[in-house]
């Protein structure tokens, strides 16, 4: 009988371990182990991310960053709240004008509550656009919570561990956001192209859009609260022979410069169950 070389044996064993881990992961059994193993790594990563962020800030502007950081964090949350209120008021005005005849109508915009947290890392795969944030289920985070900055929507929580969570950005092609154009009151569906460009599709052909118009979340579908800024129209693609028009959006958020983000903790996204066959 031919003897198996030690190298082939080692490779086979290691590949089997990797496959075993993959199967356990896909079946969901690995999460508790991952939570335990990731804890020290995330602690080290949070430490490094904070230092790195502070260093970058010091290099960018010579000020006392430690005090400013906490102040910025507080003000970001406050600013986001005020932005939300302004937008809600504008929305209400528009609706009052439009629906003046309908008495007793109230939209019922619940006040959002935010949890400010640091971005501790970015997805190591260049093909997946997501970030890691330094709070997890221990901090009250749950799957599906929308994540914003004071400038607008950045994505939603897709994976939650004890001490950290993964947020899928709206620049990832997997994410779909129902949006509303603020002035023309037209709805559409925002998706990211594979190169990260944001495009709104399914816009009514008769809608009159204008460059620079503000794009907000519409709240349809129940995955995001309404009236969160997403960006502004960069260009409009209107062809008479198409069924719908499209618009390219310039996001209001600098995704490469994300430092502190706000998780909307009191929003519970709607989860639609798959119909059984």
């Amino acid at each position: 009988m031919r003897r198996v070389s030690p190298r082939v044996l080692v490779v086979s064993i290691l590949l089997m371990i990797a496959l075993g881990v993959l199967i356990l992961n896909l079946s969901g059994f690995l999460q508790p182990v991952q939570t335990i193993l990731a804890r020290p790594i995330i602690t080290a990563q949070s430490w490094l991310a904070l230092r790195f962020s502070a260093l970058r800030d010091v290099l960018a502007s010579p000020r006392d960053m430690a005090t400013l950081r906490s102040e910025v964090s507080r003000l970001e949350a406050e600013n986001a709240l005020l932005q939300q209120e302004i937008i809600a008021l504008r929305e209400q005005t528009a609706e009052v004008e439009k629906l003046a005849a309908l008495l007793n109508y109230a939209r019922g915009q619940p006040q959002s509550s935010y949890l400010a947290t640091n971005v501790i890392g970015r997805d190591v795969s260049p093909f997946i656009r997501s970030i890691l944030i330094g709070v997890g289920s221990d901090g009250g985070i749950s799957k599906g919570m929308p994540v914003v900055t004071s400038r607008g929507l950045i994505g939603r929580v897709v994976e939650v561990f004890a001490t950290y969570s993964r947020v899928q950005l709206i620049t990832d092609p997997e994410i779909v956001v129902n949006i509303l154009f603020q002035e023309s009151r037209t709805e559409g569906v925002l998706t990211a192209q594979l190169n990260g460009e944001l495009v709104v599709d399914l816009i009514d052909l008769s809608a009159e859009l204008s460059q620079g118009e503000l794009v907000l979340t519409s709240g349809l579908g129940g995955k995001y609260p309404a009236d969160i800024p997403v960006g502004r129209i960069l260009s409009i693609h209107h062809r008479d022979y198409d069924l719908f028009q499209q618009a390219t959006i310039q996001s209001s958020v600098e995704f490469d410069q994300l430092d502190i983000v706000l998780v909307i903790t009191n929003f519970r996204p709607l989860i639609f169950e798959q119909p059984s066959p």
Partner: protein
């Protein structure tokens, strides 16, 4: 001994990859530190240890990514195996061999990642992936290949000093 130094080194590299290199990009690409470490250790004569580095490094990368855990390990174990086939003969054979190995390893690593992502049901723009991600990253990996291989060869010589006949 290689694991006592290797595993903390891989953890550190994975953290750097996610924290620092996520922000800094050069020509739209970023170096793949774990891949470079696996290739470098293999070139330094790591043998079977290279494949274990591939397994551990892959698990660490997947923990910090949206890719299912274990998939990058498979790619890195295979790359480690390929590199270890040339162990000990690289430096003697040709100075450019490490670059060739890094080029092949980088392309294989990214192609396998893309296939895995495709199997996850995601759409792939191959032209964009090649021009904006794979080629810039491979170029940066090539720039760092020789210094990394030299550094890891130095580390290996410290851990396992070559026997000298007197």
């Amino acid at each position: 001994m290689a694991y006592i130094f290797g595993i903390p080194l891989l953890i550190l590299l994975a953290i750097f990859q996610s924290t620092l290199l996520g922000t800094f990009q050069f020509l739209n690409g970023r170096p793949d530190l774990i891949l470079l470490a696996v290739i470098g250790w293999g070139l330094a004569g790591g043998g079977e240890e290279t494949m274990v580095w591939g397994l551990v490094g892959g698990l660490l990368l997947d923990m910090l990514s949206g890719i299912p855990i274990g998939t990058t390990s498979i790619a890195l174990i295979l790359i480690g195996t390929l590199v270890s086939l040339y162990e000990g003969r690289i430096w003697e054979a040709n100075f450019l061999m490490p670059l060739g190995i890094t080029l092949a390893g980088s392309l294989l690593f990214h192609l396998m990642s893309l296939v895995i992502i495709m199997l996850m049901g995601r759409e792939i723009d191959w032209a964009y992936a090649f021009s904006r991600v794979i080629l810039p990253s491979t170029f940066i990996n090539l720039l760092l290949a020789l210094p990394t291989a030299q550094a890891l060869k130095g580390l290996r010589n410290r851990l396992y000093p070559p026997e000298v006949e007197i």
